[in-house]
């Protein structure tokens, strides 16, 4: 019986597929199945379970804590040393928590792999209890994330202690969908030795950048600055100029301010003051070989700069009418369905976000503390004294902004860099920059 049924559906599928192939030569060889049979192929067993997924329930407020021993899976993309530190902190939690909660870390490769796996798991309704994620990964399945507002309101020591920009980012969908964890920011890495040799001060403003770039160009005939993230630099520069970038309706800078920003950027490239990374891949390679004086990149990449025969300096991003710096790094999202698991997962999140564990995480990985109190511990202060990168990041923590997530934001992120590259190759003028970028962005809606 079963076999028969299977045979029938196999036949139907074969027929359907052979119709797709649709080559006249083969049609004569087979008797076509009646067209009415084809829809049968649309009802595979796999689609059924997805339908019964309940909308994620509101997190219950923590009454008297009554958490049963349980296992929590946490998917992450931390590799190398980052993974060892995360494992160590997690082991501490597993050993010390009073409820018998066991958090299992699952390494899912690099960010791109984790993104793909989360997406596939959302489709198959097999999401883990906890996972690292960028906001823009979540758009298709944000309603599967647990709303953390009640947990934060009733069972968190001091949410106000979390850096404001992180709080905003974690609540941009109208509710708290995540807690910040491995955060970094874009900073200006520079060749201190070269700066001293040429008598250049660390640039504070756009005007400083242009002046310093001219000095470097005249003396060394190399570019002064480069940007690892071309979409990021457009966004940050607009903010630095007091302008807005994009929102759910389209580009917001088709005006004087936007033109001013484009003038700054196009001049940098057209004069050879700035360059594209090209075949070198990352600017960390370029600066290591002293082929550029400085670059803007993620603070998490500091270990890839090999400063041999020169000293590395790190500074906050230069501003114009104000300062603004991109932030990077993922947050932790909760997908656990069962309320006991939610409570258990929250215990873990509270633990790893505690001032002490956060400080340990930050000091050992180079990621930024997500809370003010960690910055103020003696341990982290000592770390900043030794670590120029951490100090520079802290200095601009008040200037963080995040890229908003909406339907078109992923398309914008992928289209802006190639658009900017083309403008650089074309040596386009400021007005062309503005028109082209605005059009490229608005085409994505």
């Amino acid at each position: 019986m079963k076999l028969k049924k299977f045979g029938a559906s196999v036949l139907a599928m074969t027929m359907a597929a052979s119709m797709m192939v649709g080559c006249g030569e083969t049609a004569a060889d087979t008797t076509e199945a009646p067209a009415t049979e084809t829809p049968a192929t649309e009802t595979p067993a796999t689609e059924a379970p997805a339908a019964e997924t309940p909308a994620t329930e509101e997190a219950p407020a923590a009454e008297a804590k009554n958490i049963e021993a349980t296992e929590i899976t946490f998917w992450h993309a931390m590799n190398g040393n980052l993974e060892s530190v995360l494992t160590e902190i997690t082991d501490e939690f597993n050993a010390s928590n009073e409820y018998g909660i066991k958090v299992t870390l699952v390494n899912q490769g690099a960010y791109g792999d984790l993104q793909t796996k989360l997406q596939a798991s959302a489709a198959a309704d097999a999401l883990p209890d906890l996972a690292q994620a960028y906001n823009n990964w979540l758009t298709p399945y944000i309603d599967k994330a647990v709303k953390l507002d009640d947990f934060v309101a009733t069972d968190f020591d001091n949410w106000e202690d979390i850096i404001p920009a992180y709080r905003d980012e974690c609540s941009e969908f109208g509710f708290i969908h995540a807690v910040p964890y491995n955060k970094s920011t874009y900073v200006l890495f520079y060749n201190k030795t070269m700066f001293e040799e040429l008598g250049i001060e660390v640039p504070q403003t756009w005007a400083d950048v242009e002046a310093a770039a001219k000095t470097v160009m005249d003396a060394k005939n190399i570019a002064f600055i480069g940007y690892d993230d071309l979409a990021g630099v457009v966004e940050a520069s607009l903010h630095q100029d007091g302008a807005d970038y994009v929102d759910a309706t389209g580009a917001l800078f088709n005006d004087e301010k936007g033109l001013e920003t484009c003038t700054y950027l196009s001049n940098l490239y057209n004069n050879g003051y700035a360059r594209l990374v090209g075949e070198d891949g990352y600017f960390s390679n370029v600066i290591s070989n002293q082929n550029i004086a400085s670059y803007v990149g993620s603070s998490a990449g500091v270990s890839y700069i090999k400063a041999e025969g020169w000293d590395l300096g790190v500074a906050p991003l230069p501003g114009n009418v104000k300062k603004a710096a991109n932030m990077a790094g993922t947050n932790i999202v909760m997908f656990a369905q069962d309320s006991n698991k939610q409570l258990a997962a929250w215990e873990y999140l509270k633990y790893i976000l505690s001032t002490e564990a956060m400080t340990k995480w930050a000091v050992n990985t180079g990621y930024l503390p997500v809370r003010q109190s960690s910055y103020e511990t003696a341990e982290y202060k000592a770390y900043m004294d030794e670590n120029v990168c951490a100090a520079a990041c802290y200095e601009q923590a008040k200037d963080f902004f995040f890229s908003p997530t909406f339907d078109a934001s992923n398309d914008i992120r992928s289209t802006v860099p190639s658009t900017v590259e083309q403008l650089v190759y074309d040596k386009a003028d400021a007005q062309t920059w503005l028109d082209t970028i605005v059009k490229a962005i608005n085409d994505q809606y």
């Binding site: 080559c23 796999t46 590799n79 190398g80 990352y282």
Partner: protein
């Protein structure tokens, strides 16, 4: 006449070997570069101009790469998955190719075109649905999940069908006269006659199975089930990657395949070429 012919022969031989050696240089160089990079320090890797060989070979890279993940366990898993997949592929491929090349059945052409058509859709589109299927079968985190979807490939079936068709039809008819069953004919005559093709299919499949990355990552969760290629990403982070460790791990990944290749080659091909294929 004969001396002239001899001279031509010598010149031809020099040209031939010259060309082959030049080609070999281009072919091998990337490979040597990979090995030498695996022994460099990070600053040697990005040095301008690059040195072909490291000043001091950094054998430590191999130790570090080996320590970064449970590679021994990964190795066992990779071996299991590759062996099972390849055996499965060989069985399904030989059966299907035999059916397409020797048997008559209605709809043969259609089914064959259909098989071929399955190659034309980019695999990237199929992954998510297949992942859902694996979840629904409750195969997640098992060897089955890594093996079963890959034990049949139109790519190889098409190839072997081509080879089987080369075998003269008269042999088949003669076998029929001798009352040799189709199955016996396939095993006793078709398979041995196409050893080299079957070897090629085996080695191609071993390599693709050995290097498969995204699918094993998707369908496994525990460290105990991961495979070697999953270890490669251990050296990549959001802001850069440790190229020297990737290279060291890549070398470790590749060596077993080369050994398998050389072993299979010796074992299978040499026997064939000696015995000849005159039928």
């Amino acid at each position: 006449m004969t001396t002239k012919r001899k001279i031509v022969n010598v010149i031809a031989a020099i040209l031939k070997y010259g060309l082959l050696i030049l080609g070999s240089v281009f072919t091998v160089l990337p490979f040597i570069w990979m090995i030498s990079s695996s022994l460099k320090t990070p600053s040697e890797l990005i040095a301008v101009p690059p040195a072909l060989f490291p000043e001091v070979p950094q054998w430590q890279n191999y130790k570090d790469a080996w320590a970064a993940a449970p590679f021994a366990r990964y190795f066992v898993n990779t071996l299991i998955v590759t062996t099972c997949t390849t055996c499965g592929v060989l069985v399904t491929t030989v059966l299907s190719a035999f059916a397409f090349s020797r048997l008559n059945f209605p709809g043969k052409k259609t089914v064959f075109s259909l098989f071929l058509a399955t190659l034309m859709i980019p695999g990237e589109m199929l992954i998510i649905t297949n992942y859902e299927t694996i979840i629904n079968l409750k195969w997640i985190d098992s060897y089955k999940a890594m093996i079963v979807p890959w034990i049949s490939s139109a790519f190889y079936i098409y190839l072997l069908t081509r080879f089987f068709m080369q075998v003269p039809e008269s042999l088949y008819l003669a076998a029929k006269v001798d009352k040799c069953s189709d199955f016996k004919y396939m095993i006793k005559i078709m398979v041995p006659m196409n050893k080299q093709a079957i070897f090629s299919i085996a080695i191609l499949n071993i390599i693709s199975s050995w290097n498969a990355f995204l699918w094993p990552l998707l369908v496994t969760n525990s460290q105990e089930m991961r495979v070697l290629s999953n270890g490669l990403v251990r050296f990549q982070t959001e802001a850069g990657s440790s190229t020297e460790l990737i290279m060291a791990a890549s070398c470790m990944l590749v060596m077993p395949i080369i050994i398998i290749y050389l072993f299979l080659r010796k074992y299978i091909i040499e026997g064939v070429t000696r015995s000849g294929l005159k039928g």
